[in-house]
Symmetry: C2
Subunit: 432 residues, 2 copies
Amino acid sequence: MNRQARPFAALSAVELAQAIHAGDLDPETLARACLDRIAEREPLLKAWAYLDPAEVLRRARELAKRPSLGPLHGVPVAIKDVIDTADMPTDHNSPLYNDHRPGADAPCVETLRAAGALIIGKTETTEFAAAGRNPCTRNPHDATRTSGGSSAGSAAAVADGQVPLALGTQTGGSTMRPASFCGAYALKPTWGTVSREGVKLYSLSLDTVSWYGRSVADLDLVAAVFGIGAEPVPPPPVAGLRIALCRSPEWQVTEPSMRAAFDRAGRALGELGAGISMLDLPDAFSRLSAAHKVILFSEGRAAFLNLYRNRYDLLHEDFRHRVENRDGFSNEDLVAAYDLSAQCRMAFDGIAADYDAILTPSAPGEAPVGTGPGNPALNQIWTLLHVPCVNLPLWRGESGLPLGLTLTGPRFADRRLLGVARAIEAALAPEM
Amino acid sequence: MNRQARPFAALSAVELAQAIHAGDLDPETLARACLDRIAEREPLLKAWAYLDPAEVLRRARELAKRPSLGPLHGVPVAIKDVIDTADMPTDHNSPLYNDHRPGADAPCVETLRAAGALIIGKTETTEFAAAGRNPCTRNPHDATRTSGGSSAGSAAAVADGQVPLALGTQTGGSTMRPASFCGAYALKPTWGTVSREGVKLYSLSLDTVSWYGRSVADLDLVAAVFGIGAEPVPPPPVAGLRIALCRSPEWQVTEPSMRAAFDRAGRALGELGAGISMLDLPDAFSRLSAAHKVILFSEGRAAFLNLYRNRYDLLHEDFRHRVENRDGFSNEDLVAAYDLSAQCRMAFDGIAADYDAILTPSAPGEAPVGTGPGNPALNQIWTLLHVPCVNLPLWRGESGLPLGLTLTGPRFADRRLLGVARAIEAALAPEM
């Protein structure tokens, strides 16, 4: 690997891990490079909720001294600040958790540490990864624009070359949308494959731990660490791949720039020999967005009850809304939403079995101006279907900002889908 | 209320809360009575994992001094030791969590405190409420016998008159089975109605926070505190109730004493004018026990991965089994189990709509000798169906030990089912 020729910020987690493993790079040097990049960019981008550079360097030196713990040895990983860390506060971007110190790492963090990861700091998030306060993070490509929500800091830090990997979460579109806006690779794995213990609860049926990387191989590396699937799936040839272009029932929110990127992607893959077809989902799927909201708000009612009862004064109006059930969702509404979701999960696995991957927009368009989270409409139904979603950040819009497309497939097809994503990345990335 | 005539240990949470509210009882006196009873019985029964009497009394005096916080003001509640408490260790009965101090209360505990509850201590549990180490708790009715698992200490402490209320959890049969063995009232509410944050994760699809009380009204009081349903449902007349007797697909594990109690219950309700019918569930339900195991073990694989990777030496063989997937469950098995469960949930809600309640055994028979958890076969399918389950501890077996029957109904029928349970309790309890 010709590391000298490229700055650290351009290298993937896989490349950095290999360099450390080969003895070409030591964890402290890498940590310093990340900290330098962060120091340079943080005043503009505000991706970090907590960072202690001295402690990061101390841990990097510790890792440098010991034999490799695993495939992430010495690789810096940022953690979204709704995920518990034993040695750093977990504030959830909420005045209710100022400098909150959980007693232990969330299992997902502990698993990364066991693989040798250098947990570098906590990244900005929408309050409780749910609603309430927006993150203050700016878009790495244009600081007047948002990095999205809720995993704002993690997406921006990875896309900006501050860290090679970061954990996020997704309940609606909290991973994929920021990935599209910032131009980061991301995986929201199949629901239930990574422990959600020690991660702020919003919706049991939807909350999913996810991650960002600098390449599809980076996403696969972390999937392997979490024990998802047995082996990496080698990228198949693009020629012959069966790719479905799915406009999704929420296509009406897409902007011309995204529609153009979507068309370009289909054309490019077709020209490379992939079999391209258009996929219209059955009518029932058009009711999934409404079902998502019923489940989100109803489960959120239970999730925030304790804060409503005990800390009402500091609880954001958005969460009071959930607990008071101001939308008036009934138990019958909730049961209907659960059952529709279950039926669509079964139907979708059958539909998706006919393709190697389904391609669909990750966001309506380029990142909007401001710090709002952006519209999650294009992500929610996939979260509700529990299916794996890979963001490929290979396109650009009219303003030159990133546009991402989501690659999805049946439940538990994560590693196979990552193989297909690698093939598409290799075929299309050089053109972008 | 004629409190003087009955010992504290015989009073329900509702009666105690009313006495405190009326100024007839102060929280410290009640706390002392509980502590005295615990001190007397603990050497024999071993229900407590953590108890600090001086701290309990200090908090009781604090509660005595302030205006009522809510419906549980001054009422002692025990907490199963897999649920986080800010002021007490949470050991999970695991060598991996010796004297572990979480940084905050689990939301379910915080909600109880906000209602005025006096959190009195932590109760013994099966390791992680899952497998591994058994609790050391003995049965209050016969110390040579088990109190069941995993919520052993909570069930025994309530049944033994040590505390009026206790939190448990259920993933298989961890609430209902100990309730049956010990003779406690219990509610496993509909999945998702109470926040599971801060409760040790085993299975996302199954884990449910639950509780024990000394009467059905006690269960309803706690359901109200957790915001389940809008109002208490008044007990309907028993005459005219439509009761289904369901042997369950796991009937073959029942013992003669349970079969006799089941028959007696049906006869007694019939004699009181209830419409009794036998309910045979469709064939698909006979596959739910196997589906439960696939989901439990597969989700457990993700739940214990961090401990497997980081603390292998102290991790019980049972959890290594889950993480290594020694049963070889495939993703296809897991998807099939999820989908079967979803289909049976829909079907069961339809079936249950024809009845006011469905009655089914809570355990195979009386508590067995030893400290084993007992067989959860009769509880698992209801947990998997996500439906509310009330244990009525109104029967006795040949050895004079308690036998419980489960009252169940459709998802979210919790409060209505508690109304029916109150009617049955009032009609049958005096005869027992």
